[in-house]
């Protein structure tokens, strides 16, 4: 039953108007990124060489623009739009008494809704990566598919924090709009601080609390994208996700119909 419910939730989200608008915004981000990279001024190229590792500063700059300007901002917004109203949406429509009467626990229902949001989020952000993989070799000089996929993949795992966090706040904060606004503000702050450890290496230790910093951590290790290097941010991010999902799953038990 849970699998059927999940399929139905994913289908409903894919059909929603917000998802269609999100697809348009994602397309704009993918198509716009190469334009920004076409003629980088000397001080930008120098900054990329200083802040990020790798023997090809132009490619590092591309990954910076890709993860910071395109993916990070999109992730913060899409996370809130897909998961910021879960449970509360049904509550606003007066459906919770009916849903709580079904043979499914509140925690299970919350996890299904969160999983559906995460799947659609993955389709959108992962789809952006796959579209980029098809387009960028023709548009970006020196484009390398392997590092692009690895960096985008780890970023996607990190960016899913926008979904798990928004979902947790949705059930922790009683007012739906208040929860969504709080999620958006916090996620915007985290996205804004994602690269602080690169701008000033002395602050790198403080960014350990920011999931988006872990999501872009590989930009400082482009010379060594070994399995061990890639696993490190993934493990941290999975631990953060587990904690956030648990928090939401516990909080949903107290949501009144």
């Amino acid at each position: 039953m849970i699998a059927a419910l999940l399929r139905q939730e994913v289908r409903a989200l894919l059909r929603a108007r917000r998802t269609r608008l999100a697809v348009g915004i994602v397309l704009y981000a993918v198509l716009g990124a190469p334009f920004l990279l076409a003629k980088p001024p000397p001080h930008v190229a120098e900054a990329a060489a200083t802040w990020f590792s790798g023997d090809d500063p132009a490619f590092s700059l591309f990954l910076f623009i890709w993860t910071d300007l395109a993916l990070n901002k999109l992730s913060a917004i899409l996370g809130v739009v897909l998961a910021g109203g879960i449970i509360r949406e049904e509550q606003a429509r007066g459906l919770l008494p009916l849903l709580w009467a079904k043979p499914i626990t509140r925690t299970e229902y919350y996890l299904v809704k969160l999983a559906a949001a995460a799947i659609v989020f993955t389709l959108l952000i992962g789809g952006a990566g796959l579209l980029g993989l098809a387009l960028f070799p023709w548009q970006i000089a020196g484009f390398r598919a392997g590092p692009f996929l690895v960096v985008s993949g780890v970023h996607l795992v990190g960016a899913l924090f926008a979904v798990t966090f928004s979902g947790a706040l949705a059930v922790l904060i009683r007012r739906r709009l208040g929860a969504m606004l709080t999620s958006l503000m916090v996620l915007m702050l985290l996205v804004g601080g994602a690269f602080l450890g690169f701008y000033n290496p002395a602050w790198a230790d403080y960014t350990v609390v920011n999931p988006f910093s872990h999501a872009v951590w590989l930009l400082g290790h482009l010379d060594d994208l070994s399995a061990a290097t890639v696993v490190r941010p993934l493990l941290v991010l999975l631990a953060i996700h587990a904690a956030t999902i648990t928090l939401g799953a516990l909080a949903v038990r107290r949501v009144e119909a």
Partner: protein
């Protein structure tokens, strides 16, 4: 006897609440953290910001982030307030109930929109004061008036953008869809700044307008004069009132709710 109807007074009472105090506190915290961290950035990063955004002083480098924070907070706070006007009630199917009362559609829309925009207006001005005071505390000899006038210009711009969004929201019936639209509208004016940083060649040989790098452009050419700030505020109030009137007219003639 009050000239305002009990319904309008009820809406006005709801306009300002503890949420606004929380948002002002958030803005003040951003201003303090920004003022504390920016001067500690390595020289290379500061030079990058100076060259990219065409700024001169340390105060400018601090203020550009304060202005960005103010714009984001004001715009999203206002957008979420405006969700109470039509989208929220339409989604939860409460609109018919509200309009079954002896309150006309146009009256209902104006009574909900105007206090929402007015509270956003107050929030923007309060954040301007918070930014000015924080900068004065940190840098000692920083002038207060240019920060207040730039803050007023940001508030004026945000209020007009929100009034336009309020009109667009009449076509939507899903809160998350409206949040996504508001996010796109919020980011749109910031895109030229990315172009200025990464593709300054696009602006080569042109006079840079105010829209070329909002909000950094508010710091160029000596900032915003008090006369221009007053003009912007007055113009914004007039334009926002006109847009509310158009939205009220539109709702009055909408065939379906």
């Amino acid at each position: 006897m009050s000239v305002l109807s009990p319904y309008v007074r009820a809406e006005l009472r709801r306009a300002l609440g503890p949420r606004h105090l929380a948002l002002i506190t958030l803005g003040a915290v951003i201003a303090v953290v920004d003022a504390a961290l920016t001067p500690r950035l390595p020289t290379f990063a500061l030079e990058f910001l100076r060259t990219s955004l065409r700024l001169d002083t340390m105060a400018d480098l601090i203020l550009v982030n304060d202005y960005l924070g103010q714009y984001i907070i004001v715009l999203f706070a206002g957008a979420f307030e405006l969700l109470r006007v039509h989208v929220g009630p339409a989604e939860s199917r409460e609109l018919d109930l509200y309009l079954a009362k002896p309150i006309g559609r146009a009256h209902f829309l104006a009574a909900r929109s105007a206090p929402a925009l007015a509270s956003t207006f107050v929030l923007g001005l309060a954040l301007s004061v918070a930014n000015a005071l924080t900068l004065r505390l940190w840098l000692g000899d920083a002038a207060l008036v240019p920060v207040l006038t730039a803050g007023a210009a940001i508030t004026a711009f945000a209020v007009v953008l929100l009034a336009a969004l309020n009109l667009a929201f009449l076509w939507l019936r899903e809160v998350e869809h409206a949040v996504l639209l508001a996010s796109a509208a919020a980011i749109l004016p910031l895109l030229p700044t990315s172009v200025l940083i990464y593709r300054p060649d696009v602006f080569a040989g042109r006079d840079l307008s105010l829209a070329a790098a909002f909000p950094a452009s508010l710091l160029w050419h000596g900032g915003v004069s008090p006369a221009n700030a007053a003009l912007a505020l007055a113009g914004a109030l007039g334009l926002a009132s006109a847009l509310i009137a158009v939205a009220a007219w539109r709702l009055d003639r909408k065939p379906d709710l």
